[in-house]
Amino acid sequence: MSDESSGMHLTLEIWRQDDADDRGRMETYHLDDVSPDMSFLEMLDVLNEQLISGGREPVAFDHDCREGICGACSLVIDGKAHGADAETTVCQLHMRRFKDGDTIHVEPWRANAFPVVRDLVVDRSAFDRIIARGGYVSVGTGSAPDANAIPVPKDRAESSFEAAACIGCGACVAACPNASAMLFVAAKIAHLSHLPQGAPERDRRVLAMVDQMDREGFGNCTNHFECGAACPKGIEVETIARMNREFLSAALRER
């Protein structure tokens, strides 16, 4: 065997922060022999194994399913939420997208409404509180009519699905210069407003969810459209216009 390895040599600049009160700092790590077939998170696993073996604490990051559906992973890579690939979560990003010798910057989601818990882990419970204000159809268990009692036109069901595909990762907030959560909230509003189910609470839903969004300290939308570009599920920014219409007509009817 020659000492030449096929793996990449990388320099990692990673945000480390002990807890919410710590100021935090970037730290530099070197990693050899990174396989292009690794996912980005598997690369971080290798780094963490090295750190633990050396008695140092691993880099904390949220992750779970590692197939792009749970919405846990949440890294800003070289300034891009979930990295540069379109419609990709970090766990689906592979190291073949990087070059030998690259320096990669890794940071957490940055938003006032998402305080850092530790290193790359942030607190996204604001999203849960928004959903708790109306992101559902109020139907108690057992009180549903037959599933085919209310037909839903195929294209409406499809549009509903497209919006319902949101994984609640928060990349839209991280990508937005204003840290706005409009795309996240709009996706839930669109998912439900395309369907006849839940129509009676349509006005209440949009008013309450937008109210909670504002209370959580998310910024306003000023049409940068970075959210749509960062969304790993390809949810379109037009969804926001739909929410604005829903909100306006609900607010008018409210008067």
Partner: protein, 642 residues
């Protein structure tokens, strides 16, 4: 001989099978509506079973505390289920019925599930679809606006409802919405980033839990009148599986050590269509939905060691081995059969890809027949996922797939009420053992999780609350103090070892031993080797693991180490159960028990029972309790998919 254990009263009702659940519900005591708010219920886990149970119980008026290890209840691993959910609606008019779904599930489970439970599951399946649609789950529809169904995993009828390849996500978001509605109303208190470390038993009844707050490291005690474990399966005992990284056996295992019997741990499901291992860095395996087998054809080269690209292998040199071996079911044979057939070909040297541990799943015929757009509409997200991971385009070259650990049919033993051998401790969803026997059919996991949570536990938990005297217990009770102390000591021990190996590296070694000796095919000597190896690893873990940091902050290394420690104890029980069950059935294939054609051979005389294990302490053999299984309606037959 099978001996019924007096400790295992299934409480199954008798009488005509279609009336049993009704009769049982009538016999269960009811809690007066005005009294419901006086009862506290703990729900651990917020996947399909946990979220649906927490929401439904809160709707009834109980005060619910719900716990999850993730940062949000919406991230539970049910979210990753792809293919669909079964129900006996018979919308396509193709001959389905509650009885047929019941029959298929008992038979598909290779006759190791209780008939009464399975029939109830089939009965409530239709209500689940109604409920989910009313919640706004965007299932696939036809041009008339009505719900679409597909055939799935070998079923001869189309009974699977689906939302593209993201059915689990959509169902979970429906249940999560119902849960969050109750959080908003104040009936559910949500505790995210909590790990359950112990069940607290007072006077023989489960009365609370001890959890660790994963952010602050604090131990928290929570008292209640009933505890529901909805904490999923133990597939990650194999390290590599399709489970999410946080999936673990800890909650179930700690309950087991407090007296909940563990049933059929050797019944693990190896899913035939997963993306193969790419290298040593592999951290998990990704499933490619079984629905792909509706249109994909599985093949390997006829010549062993043929490493030409698929496009250069002519039709005449391809072996469509599932179609060859099982002409009537072809590519749609059940999961266990498809997995073993893939292993058989690869072991014989016909595997493809760099490792030789893969077979082709080919869509070119389907694309030629239906057009690329039609295939994209059905499987677009799966094809995209495949391409991201492998850098290969499955519209042009066949997918490479190989079996991987996916689901665990075994789990904590429960009676017909879903109550474990600890009174007041209920177990729902994948965490229990009850409905899938030795093999789960495709699109049945989502059905079972939601059946348990929406339509079974809300009644049976009420029976427990109304039927037992439950004196007030608070968290200063000595049982809480003792449990918390034990949890603290365990954490301190983990931090104090200060050895040289990471928990992850030991977990990988455990996984390798499990996969090699306790995977798709098992035999006596391999299982004995596994038992020895697991014990060695457990000893090594406690002598040589290194867990940096402390227990007072978010410490993911500590979390993982704690889970690995439990997997190391649990794995021994899994292997011991596999060794004891010397028959082949469903996903449990013992090489000593096969037909001349290499198919699984059951031994109903000696093994037509549930094996429920009682914990006696570390390094003490567990006690085996048997619950005999009666088949009054589905005749015991050898499965055949020829």
């Amino acid at each position: 001989m099978i001996q019924a254990s007096p400790r295992l009263d299934s409480k199954c009702p008798t009488g005509p099978i279609a009336e049993r659940w009704d009769k049982h519900r009538f016999d269960l005591k009811l809690v007066n509506p005005a009294n419901k708010r006086k009862f506290d219920i703990i729900v651990v886990g917020t996947g399909l079973a946990g979220a649906s149970a927490a929401a439904s119980l809160a709707e009834l008026g109980y005060d619910v505390k719900a716990f999850c290890i993730q940062d949000s209840p919406r991230r539970a691993h049910s979210i990753a289920a792809q293919g669909g959910i079964n129900a006996a609606k018979n919308y396509p008019n193709d001959g389905d019925s509650v009885y047929r779904l019941f029959y298929d599930t008992v038979k598909g489970g290779d006759f190791r599930a209780r008939e009464s439970n399975v029939h109830r599951l089939a009965e409530v399946s239709n209500s689940i679809i109604d409920q989910c649609v009313a919640q706004g789950v965007p299932f696939a529809r036809d041009y008339g606006g009505l719900l679409d169904n597909r055939s799935f995993g070998g079923a001869q009828v189309s009974r699977t409802f689906y939302a593209r390849g993201q059915t689990g996500q959509q169902l979970l978001l429906g249940a999560y919405g119902a849960l969050m509605r109750q959080v908003g109303s104040g009936k559910v208190q949500m505790f995210p980033r909590r790990e359950m470390l112990d069940v607290v038993v007072v006077d023989g009844v489960a009365r609370g839990i001890v959890v660790k707050n994963l952010v602050t490291g604090e131990y928290e005690r929570h008292a209640a009148h009933a505890v529901l474990l909805c904490t999923g399966g133990y597939g990650n005992a194999f390290y590599l599986s399709t489970n999410a990284k946080a999936c673990n056996v800890t909650a179930a295992w700690r309950a087991h050590k407090r007296g909940a019997f563990f049933a059929n741990p050797c019944f693990t499901q190896i899913h035939p269509t997963c993306i193969p291992v790419a290298g040593d860095h592999q951290s998990k395996l990704t499933l490619m939905s079984e629905s792909l087998r509706n249109d994909g054809r599985v093949w390997v080269p006829r010549k062993d060691g043929d490493r030409r690209p698929a496009s250069e292998i002519p039709e005449s040199e391809r072996d469509y081995y599932l179609e060859r071996r099982y002409p009537s079911f072809g590519n749609l044979v059940p999961r266990d059969v498809a997995s073993r057939a893939a292993k058989e070909r690869c072991d014989a040297g016909y595997g493809v890809g760099a490792s030789g541990q893969a077979v082709f799943l080919d869509f070119l015929d389907a694309i030629e027949r239906d057009g690329e757009d039609a295939i994209r509409a059905k499987y677009g997200n799966l094809f995209q996922m495949y391409e991201k991971i492998t850098d290969e385009n499955p519209y042009r070259t066949p997918m490479r797939i190989y079996p991987a650990v996916h689901y665990t049919m075994g789990g904590l033993w429960v009676d017909y009420n879903l109550e474990s051998t600890i009174p007041g401790l209920f177990v729902l969803g994948e965490a229990n053992f009850s409905d899938h026997g030795a093999n789960r059919l495709g699109a049945s996991a989502l059905m079972q999780g939601l059946a348990d949570g929406y339509f079974v536990a809300p009644y049976t938990v009420g029976g427990h609350l109304a039927g037992r005297a439950l004196p007030e217990v608070d968290t200063e009770n000595p049982a809480f103090r003792e449990a918390e102390l034990a949890c603290r000591e365990r954490t301190d021990r983990l931090l104090a070892v200060n050895g040289r190996r990471t928990a992850d590296s030991i977990h990988r070694d455990l996984g390798l031993a499990m996969w090699n000796h306790c995977g798709m095919a098992r035999n006596e000597s391999g299982l004995k080797t596994a038992l020895e190896r697991i014990r060695e690893l457990r000893v090594e873990f406690w002598e040589n693991v290194r867990v940096p940091g402390d227990g007072e902050h978010l410490n993911q290394a500590l979390e993982h180490a704690g889970r690995v420690a439990d997997f190391l104890e649990f794995a021994e029980l899994l292997a011991a159960d596999a060794l004891d069950r010397s028959e082949s059935c469903g996903g449990h294939f013992r090489e000593e028990s096969q037909t001349e054609e290499g198919e699984a051979l059951r031994d109903d005389k000696n093994f037509c029972h549930v094996s429920a294990w009682e914990w006696n302490g570390l390094d003490e053999p567990s006690t085996l309790h048997q619950e005999p299984l009666d088949f009054e309606h589905v005749k015991l037959t050898q499965r055949s998919y020829k």
